[in-house]
């Protein structure tokens, strides 16, 4: 990977009159936006033919800062809106930014069905374990025992694993990293952007203001340390499993990378068969 300066990314891709962003100090969302733009830059993707779609939440503000077509939709509906965009104009590259609540709770059903249809979308889910925009409530991804404003005595609900859902429903590309793994993350976003069909990259990202503060990880440094210590690479994890060992760490890495015909291609074929 060639080194690209931040100032070049800002100059080329950001909507400068929208800056500064609303993100808190130490928030990881800006980093993920940076990763995605670097991937787009490295792949030389035509930004005029790229649409960024989002729902509601902190991470859903990303499309507003990118100088391109952006669709800031409703809470949970980003993938459904994006499906309409991609089907109506298959020439567009459609990238969805969605949070863990947006994607896994209110928008969970759209997530499942877009994977089932294999719509050609790149979905980047920024998972900060909480509802940041509303001040840190419990999310479907909040770990057990974690404190949030609506689980003041600790969370008793088992969290869902968005990447595993994407895998079992059949997404052709699935990877999970954290903001503490920028190189791997950019490399996965690049693969996702190039993979035809539903590609999913989950990025664990710090929310020091809400989640971190309530769980004794009030700085980005604390959270970065947590990401490093509490995750395990899939390759290592599989080796451990083979040796009969178990771990409760969060598994990261590339989970799926296969070829699978996408919806638009199938639709086009069946239409031409009709004629």
């Amino acid at each position: 990977m060639s080194f690209t300066s931040n100032s070049l990314i800002i100059e080329k891709y950001l909507r400068k009159d929208m800056l500064p962003t609303i993100f808190c100090t130490g928030c990881g969302i800006g980093s993920v936006m940076n990763f995605a733009l670097r991937a787009i830059h490295d792949l030389n993707i035509d930004i005029n033919k790229t649409v960024f779609v989002s729902g509601i939440g902190c991470s859903s503000r990303i499309p507003g800062y990118i100088y391109s077509d952006g669709l800031h939709s409703l809470h949970g509906r980003a993938i459904a809106y994006a499906t309409g965009v991609k089907l109506a104009n298959p020439e567009l590259k459609v990238v969805v930014f969605t949070g863990d609540g947006d994607c896994g709770a209110i928008g969970g059903n759209h997530f499942l069905h877009a994977i089932r249809r294999n719509v050609d979308l790149t979905v980047i889910s920024i998972n900060n374990f909480t509802y940041g925009m509303t001040g840190g409530q419990v999310a479907p991804t909040t770990p057990l025992k974690s404190k949030t404003t609506t689980t003041p005595y600790g969370n008793i609900e088992y969290p869902i694993d968005l990447s595993m859902i994407a895998k079992v429903i059949g997404a052709p590309y699935v990877a999970r990293w954290t903001t503490a793994h920028p190189v791997q993350c950019i490399s996965s976003i690049k693969k996702a952007l190039q993979r035809k069909g539903f590609s999913f990259v989950e990025v664990l990202s710090p929310c020091p203001t809400s989640y971190g503060r309530l769980n004794k990880m009030g700085t980005t440094l604390d959270m970065t340390k947590y990401f490093k210590e509490s995750t395990i690479n899939i390759k290592l994890y599989e080796k451990m499993l083979a040796e009969g060992k178990i771990t409760d760490k969060i598994v990261i890495g590339e989970f799926v990378d296969i070829e699978k015909e996408d919806f638009n291609t199938k639709y086009k074929k069946f239409c031409s068969d009709l004629k």
Binding site: V51, D69, S73, T83, V85
Partner: protein
């Protein structure tokens, strides 16, 4: 100008259902994206689209629910493709949040609601007009949609084309209110001559991309409707449901920006109300009693008025074709000489409210409700007319 669908269909005289007329009208209007979810009594619209769209190079997709359907329709419309969904009461309720989004972000789309008995799951196979107020006020916040109510299968086809035209002209969601009766009714339909069809295309942005402001008005048209740059055209349009300035950027705490935007969303439609408010009237010259109706209910209403006229009762009829926005001024003029207004509706009294608002204080306004599925018989309406003659 050739019309792909008319050419493909290859015949002009049809015997089709209201739901099918929606499909034909939409395809004539160059609708090329349909997303929906099965629901009685609107399913035939989806089934028709599933047959025709792939043959016309358009997209038909059955989504996972009604929310996803209208969401996909809005997404598709952002790329410049005319888009539509069709549903009934329960699905229409689910769509409300996205309808508000389409109002706020000014994304043209057509939503067909084949009304059935409600509330809730109610009477799936029975006709009703219970969603009239919801069509106007269903989504939260101040806004203005356009809603049309056809009375026949032929008019369903014609008004579906018009729904797309109005939606493109004003960049608003247009709601076509059918009911189970008209949706499933079959009638003779004659496709319009190609030369007689107005098919309005979206007004594209013409200003240079560097000077482009997605929500600035007064460039390509004189109205308060902004020009439209579809996604992928290089204009880099940001679309949001948040209160936004002319650049499309969220500005959520400024009273001025909010008021200017929301007022414009309403005014852009109301400024042209006399052009978009379609109605029909008969026997008004000497009418002392006027029956006001819309949709299917207009059919027994017309029969009743004709019967009453034969009995020398001075009764007239006004049929609302555009039901929202309501043309207060025009309605006041039409109704001012009557001593009694009768409003038959297949609900317990909805459209009667704006009518009560506009009549003179000494005018009697009588609701003639009917719910449960059967449409009014002419005799039921005639009895009320006879009971109110002087």
């Amino acid at each position: 100008m050739a019309n792909d669908f008319i050419k493909l269909l290859g015949k002009k005289n049809l015997f089709i259902q209201g739901d099918e007329a929606v499909v034909y009208g939409a395809l004539i209007a160059n609708c090329r994206f349909f997303a929906g979810y099965p629901i009685t009594p609107a399913t035939e619209v989806a089934e028709g689209m599933a047959i025709w769209m792939p043959k016309l190079g358009g997209i038909y997709i059955q989504m996972e629910d009604e929310i996803a359907s209208i969401a996909a329709v809005i997404g598709a419309s952002c790329t410049g493709v005319k888009s539509m969904t069709a549903t009934s009461g329960p699905g229409f309720s689910l769509m409300q949040e996205c309808i508000g989004y389409a109002c706020m972000a000014e994304i043209p789309c057509v939503i067909v609601n084949v009304q059935r008995g409600g509330p809730s799951t109610g009477q799936p196979t029975e006709a009703a007009q219970g969603d009239v107020m919801q069509a106007m006020w269903g989504t939260h916040g101040d806004h203005q949609v356009i809603a049309l109510a056809p009375k026949s299968v032929q008019e369903t086809l014609d008004l579906t084309i018009e729904a797309f035209n109005l939606s493109e002209d004003y960049r608003v969601p247009v709601i076509l209110l059918l009911d189970a009766e008209i949706g499933h009714m079959r009638e003779k339909v004659v496709l319009p001559e190609i030369t007689d069809i107005r098919v309005e295309e979206r007004v594209p942005a013409t200003i240079g991309a560097d000077k482009y402001r997605p929500y600035r008005t007064g460039f390509t048209r004189s109205s308060k409707v902004p020009e439209f740059a579809p996604f992928g055209s290089g204009y880099k349009t940001y679309v949001t449901g948040l209160t936004h300035d002319k650049r499309g950027f969220p500005v959520t705490t400024s009273a001025e920006v909010h008021e200017e935007l929301v007022r414009r969303l309403i005014e852009k439609v109301h400024d042209d109300i006399d052009m978009i408010w379609y109605y029909e009237s008969s026997f008004l010259e000497d009418a002392e009693i006027i029956v006001v109706s819309y949709g299917t209910t207009s059919r027994p209403a017309v029969s009743a008025v004709k019967m009453a006229r034969k009995n020398d009762i001075k009764v007239g009829h006004v049929r609302l074709i555009t039901i929202w926005p309501f043309n207060y001024e025009k309605m006041r003029n039409l109704l001012k000489n009557a001593h009694t207004i009768i409003v038959p509706e297949m609900n317990l009294g909805q459209m009667i409210h704006p009518i009560r608002e506009i009549v003179e204080r000494n005018t009697k306004v009588i609701s003639a409700p009917k719910i449960g599925g059967a449409i009014h018989t002419p005799y039921e309406i005639l009895k009320i007319i006879e009971g109110n003659k002087n």
